[in-house]
Symmetry: C2
Amino acid sequence: MSAKVITVTQDSAPTRLPVMADVARLAGVSHQTVSRVLNDHPNVAAPTRTRVLAAIRELNYRPNSAARALASKRSKTLGVVSFDTTLYGPASMLYGIERAARSADYFISIVSLSSMARRSVLEAVERLREQAVEGIVVIAPQISASGVLAQAGDGVPLVGAGCGLTERVPLVAIDQRAGAAMATRHLLDLGHRTVHHVAGPASWLDATGRIAGWRSTLEGAGAPVPEPLSGDWSARSGFELGQRIAADAEVTAVFCANDQMTQGLLRALHEAGRRVPEDISVVGFDDIPEAAYFIPPLTTVRQDFGELGRRALELLVARLAGNSGPPGQVLIQPELVVRASARPVARA
Amino acid sequence: MSAKVITVTQDSAPTRLPVMADVARLAGVSHQTVSRVLNDHPNVAAPTRTRVLAAIRELNYRPNSAARALASKRSKTLGVVSFDTTLYGPASMLYGIERAARSADYFISIVSLSSMARRSVLEAVERLREQAVEGIVVIAPQISASGVLAQAGDGVPLVGAGCGLTERVPLVAIDQRAGAAMATRHLLDLGHRTVHHVAGPASWLDATGRIAGWRSTLEGAGAPVPEPLSGDWSARSGFELGQRIAADAEVTAVFCANDQMTQGLLRALHEAGRRVPEDISVVGFDDIPEAAYFIPPLTTVRQDFGELGRRALELLVARLAGNSGPPGQVLIQPELVVRASARPVARA
DNA sequence: GGAGTTGTTGTGAGCGCTAACAATCGTCCC
DNA sequence: GGGACGATTGTTAGCGCTCACAACAACTCC
């Protein structure tokens, strides 16, 4: 029968979509009562509610979100501006954000950035505001972004995910220094005299955080601090830098700032005949799903991007709910995953 | 001066946001004229337009998208429902879609799926309709999805990206059979007697397409067709299947249905002491950015996911623009990227 | 010089919903 | 038994915009 109704609706060509008044008429109530049941207001008699629900189903009625937004001044939409959603980190955060948003009953509108230019972030935020999002999560791991956040969040609640520290914007991030320290310490504990570092681009906060954690651990242990090499996160750059490392007979341990670069590094080492972990120990960062299947299996630092996204969204929702204390800062701890790519230094 | 205005606005606490009427008043025109300049209507005198623009800037006016959507019945929003945006393929398509949407002046609202259950897709589509999207791109590579598409797209224009063939829904896809055929032929041309296949899950269209291409190429060449093994796309499953392959001395060539599984496969082969490509040649599929840095560098089939996403969105926009011919079907050709993981069979 | 043009601007009526208020009905209490 | 009160429902205004149409100018043309 419901099917029949639908068919009829489709046949009589330009039948306009049912609106609240239609439902009200069919249920024999006022449109306001329909609105009440739609919004779960208390004080609607059970039988009335049932009748309204039946009418809604029969007409296959769907509330008009634009009208709703206009009247209630709430769009039920949150924005996400993210840098290159093709990367594992941002993609995973986005996923976490979307799921959290759905369970908080918000829609997610995204705009991805190709460049991390200041302008670009501002434009993205602007675009989202145009769409009347109620709040924005920014996934912008570059240093240049942190200043922008403070500036952009004028009038819209804004939360940074994996972004740099700013006093004015609430943030959720993974403790990069701690992660890097774990990796470095692990290598030191294995007996290596020092640990070399393949870093990410200097413009990324994650990269500088990891450098800082690595450096301070080395210094704390009284180990020499070699000049870090810096790549662009790609396997290609890890490979190129790996060739230089392979040529340096001094190196026995490398902490590489992400798993993709590590993959390139392993390849370079392999080609140069430097065995991992026999000749050189390697530790990565991220724990991408493939890391356990590198040759050899990669010891790395796991960061839970999904959790990061989820927490960022929850923080945003909390603020939206009026929970506007001081801009909270959530730090998530990473975790060392020990596999086969690092082992005690071979005694000469 | 503009700064001064803003400050004043902020200070006098509950000043409501400026609306079109405010702009009109300040510019000394009617609200309709303001609307005209906002929508680039012709027939607005240049000086008038200038005045309006100035007023807009001075008040820092931003049109209300909900009101706009309500009055014009156009939300300027497109929906994307995607399966696991964490995977390289979907993530890249999403990226392509977002960029294309932006340049066509649409917003993108996403909902990601955790399960590919029929219900799940329908719910996602339903959710998007609730939000009044003007059209939807579905990234649902599973077989179960194709039927759903036909069913779901009732009332909203819908385009599938990388989805199965359905007569009722326009589609953009990459030619999986052709890609698999290329890979298989490449291996055959190298002198291998036959080619083994590590397939994706049977529920995925991409997987069955690749099996079909592989099988028919083998049959066309009169080569024996071994039973394909089937994994779940993950490196882990590639590794497990790889252990079985490594144990089979007959195998000299493997076509693996994606690069992640290939990575696991390479690891298993390596551990078993089977050299690639000396003992076994391997060809992958996808050409993820890391493929060139596998050990050894992976010969694989490149599919341009970004392009796929872009084309899907363009198709959707075209249909929205009234261009509703027969549900078009766009097939994108993949491309073989030859690297070091496959080579002529060693003559015994 | 009046009728048609074209270009430019204004007017009024909604779009479909929510929020505030008003109305109605029974109930309870002293 | 009358007034207060709670539960339920209806009425009335907008929310801020776009669309269709009307109005008016300044031209053109025969």
